[in-house]
């Protein structure tokens, strides 16, 4: 796994792996993030999918020195250093909470109940948070549930909606424009800026959805 380094402006360094994105790759990215967080001059670590951005203070560390530190640390990192938690997300599927459940069923050729059964049957891994505060990019959607985004994105997806977009699934923490197929909604807050832990999810967590109700 050869790491490519590239400046992202004059105070950030991108470290990225060649595709494809795999869980093994991502675990090393998390491990590098955990390590780099301790370094002098590193202000923020931001895992992406198969990559890590380090925001640094050039007055405290030069980019060349930071690159050297990354390349020295990289081969010595253990993959599974991060300890993820198990998070259960209760979901009311279908009806007003998930207006697109029928469309996903039609596209996949499954019944709505079967879509829910398979969506709740899988364990997902939080690869990273991005896009919105507390929005988790989840890996592990059963391939047969993949459904293209809606042709016309919604201008305001309700907060806490659970959706499928292409080969991804996730939960919208806030009201936001969005093109994903909405299959349900959770009562859990994904983001609370006043809480000690402002986001429900963290990279490395394992997520399972639990059906509270299904309306078809």
């Amino acid at each position: 796994m050869k790491l490519r380094l590239h400046a992202l402006g004059d105070a950030a360094l991108l470290c990225e792996l060649p595709p494809p994105a795999t869980l093994a790759h991502q675990q090393k990215i998390w491990a590098l993030a955990a390590e780099a967080r301790q370094w002098r001059g590193v202000r923020e670590v931001l895992p992406g999918m198969n990559n890590l951005t380090l925001v640094f203070d050039p007055a405290a560390i030069e980019q060349a020195e930071l690159e050297m530190q990354v390349l020295t640390a990289w081969p010595q990192l253990a993959g599974a250093a991060i300890e993820g938690r198990d998070i259960l997300i209760p979901v009311a599927y279908g009806g007003d909470d998930g207006p697109d459940l029928g469309d996903v069923a039609a596209h996949t050729g499954l019944t709505p109940d079967e879509v829910v059964r398979r969506h709740t049957g899988a364990t997902y891994v939080v690869y990273l948070l991005g896009f919105l505060p507390g929005f988790g990019f989840l890996g592990g959607l059963p391939p047969e549930l993949a459904t293209p985004r809606r042709a016309e994105p919604r201008t305001a997806v309700p907060a806490r909606s659970v959706g499928i977009g292409g080969e991804q699934t996730g939960v919208y923490p806030l009201v936001s424009p969005g093109g994903w197929q909405l299959i349900g909604r959770t009562p859990l807050a994904l983001f609370d800026p006043l809480a000690a832990e402002p986001t429900l999810l963290r990279p490395g967590d394992r997520v399972r959805f639990v059906a509270e109700s299904v309306r078809t």
Partner: protein
Amino acid sequence: MIVVVKPGMLASVQDLGRHGHRERGICPGGALDALALALGNRLVGNADGAAGLELTLGNCELRFECMTRIALTGDDFGATLDGLPVRANWSLPVRAGQTLRLGALNAAGTAKAGLRSWLAVAGGVDVPEILGSRSTDLKAGFGGHEGRALKKGDRLPLGRPSLDALQMAQRSFGLRGPAWAIDGVEDAEPADAISLRVMPGPEYAQFTAASHRALWNDPWHITPQSNRMGSRLEGTALARERTLDMLSSGVIPGTLQVPPSGQPIILMGDAQTTGGYPRIGVVIRADLWKLAQAPLKGRLRLVQVDGVEAQSAWLAQELYLRQVAQGLASAGWPVAARARANALSSPHEAGEHDAD
């Protein structure tokens, strides 16, 4: 207390930003022109990171209910205090009951006139600190004043002014603004364009040679569809040699990302933390303030620089801030000047001075 009589197009409470939470998807936000806010704060005896107001396109009216000291930075939009002119980068006392008005048109009336103004008030705008910042996160709806843009009738509490601000009593004084003082590339350029220095981004090499030429040589215009999340540019469509799949990856303010339309977007403080579009370049930190003030429909020129040039541009900005500190010290502003020199280069530490 400040009463918002008329907020203008978009007014919000901002400080130097909410740092350290990108990995949770929380954007840094903050004053889009951090230099302008810091200057204003120094002029009223605050720490650089005190919260002020970011005002957009003038047309704004604010009433002060207590005696205080203010400084307006960025574009002055022909501002007046009870009818008397208020210049940008001046520090002046305000009596209870006085009203600050920003005009609907920018003062200069030229293509180079600005877009935003920042108001610093002695003691800072005293809204609750959330996740280490008083900035308004408009998209997520928290921070600042009730997590939203300011509305008519809002009342904003002020913190206690520093001893410096009180000692200045009725004196007024001003500073040379950064556009005059920082020696950039502006001298050699046509007067109707703003130059931004840009480092090639991680996906730069994926773009065609024609796109590279267009990026550096063609004029770019800022479209009115721009906001605190991004400045949308219009110009020659940029294209990659072939369409490669992009995985979600970090973006920072200043990133020039190119969506399928080929028209780049320069991400601003409220942009999302990760993106999926190729990053052809990144505006250097020292030029972000120019971007924040670049007028809508204004012309931009993008100038290629490397990391070494970016660092020397940053040092030039720090030198300017040091000159500001010295100038303020000679005007009898010693405590503020000493304590806050260089605070801009360390936004994480800036917050620690807030309790001064």
